[in-house]
């Protein structure tokens, strides 16, 4: 079949497929739950389930080893954003103890066509990202907590995710050993 006009850019269409699918999911969740807080929680849970798979994909692609320290972790998370979302967030606002940092970014494929309606101001539209971080880090023996400090969808100038180290998880010990 011959057509005049540009061929479709498969990478772009695929990215939009992801963006729109995510939008459809959020819409469905808003329909299913009465409380916006529950939607935020559900998005986080789904992110967690994605994170525990995405980390293997990330490790297989990059061949990276275990993190030396939390700064190393921050850089690996940054490269994960680059690989999967095509953006490079800046790593800033380190806590004095070096156990928390912020990821700041301006655009992000999740929110490409999104405007929050007024009744959804408590919705953390991108909350799936915090779940992904929790799931992915847990798989590499690290418990982290993360949350949104700023959100462009709520008219902040950037989106800022705070990531905090909670504790190192120990390897499972086989039964009968100590």
């Amino acid at each position: 079949m011959s057509r005049t006009g540009a061929r479709l850019d498969a990478k772009k269409v695929n990215s939009e497929l992801f963006t729109l699918t995510y939008g459809a999911l959020v819409t469905q969740l808003l329909k299913d739950y009465e409380n916006v807080e529950d939607v935020n929680k559900q998005l986080e849970r789904m992110g967690y389930n994605m994170g525990i798979r995405l980390i293997e994909d990330f490790l297989a692609r990059t061949g990276s080893g275990r993190c030396y320290d939390f700064r190393d972790t921050a850089e690996k998370i940054q490269s994960g954003f680059k690989i999967f979302l095509g953006i490079t967030p800046t790593i800033t606002n380190w806590s004095p103890a070096g156990d928390a940092f912020s990821l700041c970014f301006e655009t992000n494929p999740l929110t490409e066509f999104v405007e929050l309606p007024d009744h959804c101001l408590n919705l953390k539209y991108c909350n799936i990202l915090t779940g992904v971080l929790r799931g992915a880090c847990e798989m590499v023996q690290m418990e982290v907590a993360s949350w949104f400090l700023q959100d462009q969808l709520k008219n902040d100038s950037v989106t800022e995710i705070r990531v905090k180290f909670v504790k190192r998880l120990e390897d499972a010990i086989p039964a009968g050993e100590d």
């Binding site: 525990i52 798979r53 980390i55 293997e56 994909d57 490790l59 297989a60 692609r61 061949g63 990276s64 080893g65 275990r66 993190c67 798989m139 590499v140 023996q141 390897d171 499972a172 010990i173 086989p174 039964a175 009968g176 050993e177």
Partner: protein
Amino acid sequence: MTVHNLYIFSRNCTLLYYAEWNRLNKSGMTKEEEAKLMYGMLFSIKSFINKISPLDPKDGFLHYKTSKYTLNYLETPSGLKFVLNTDNSAQNVRGLLQQLYSQIYVEYVIKNPLCQLNEPIQSELFKNKLDELVKSSPYF
């Protein structure tokens, strides 16, 4: 050259998968007992190396060798453990283990939404692809 057998363990000590190609000697134990023994040995040898190594044990435990066979070990940062026994002439088995992880495990377990993680792998497609990869390796 020969590939003998393979164990894959999850980070929680579960035996996710076992396969064998040329295994002449059986342990005489059930698969579960054997897996437990193997996992326990890996655990001990790793902690032994970390404690006793006279040099920086950065790479940790990679393989051990007897006069007849080599046990090759790959642990991913996510705690998955791949154990492949080969004969002593096999070269760069680590490369094969990495392929096994990135081209077989990630493709046919991680990307199969019907496979639960941390449970023994049932997928026949995984099994076929794994078998293909091992048999096409130069040291099979």
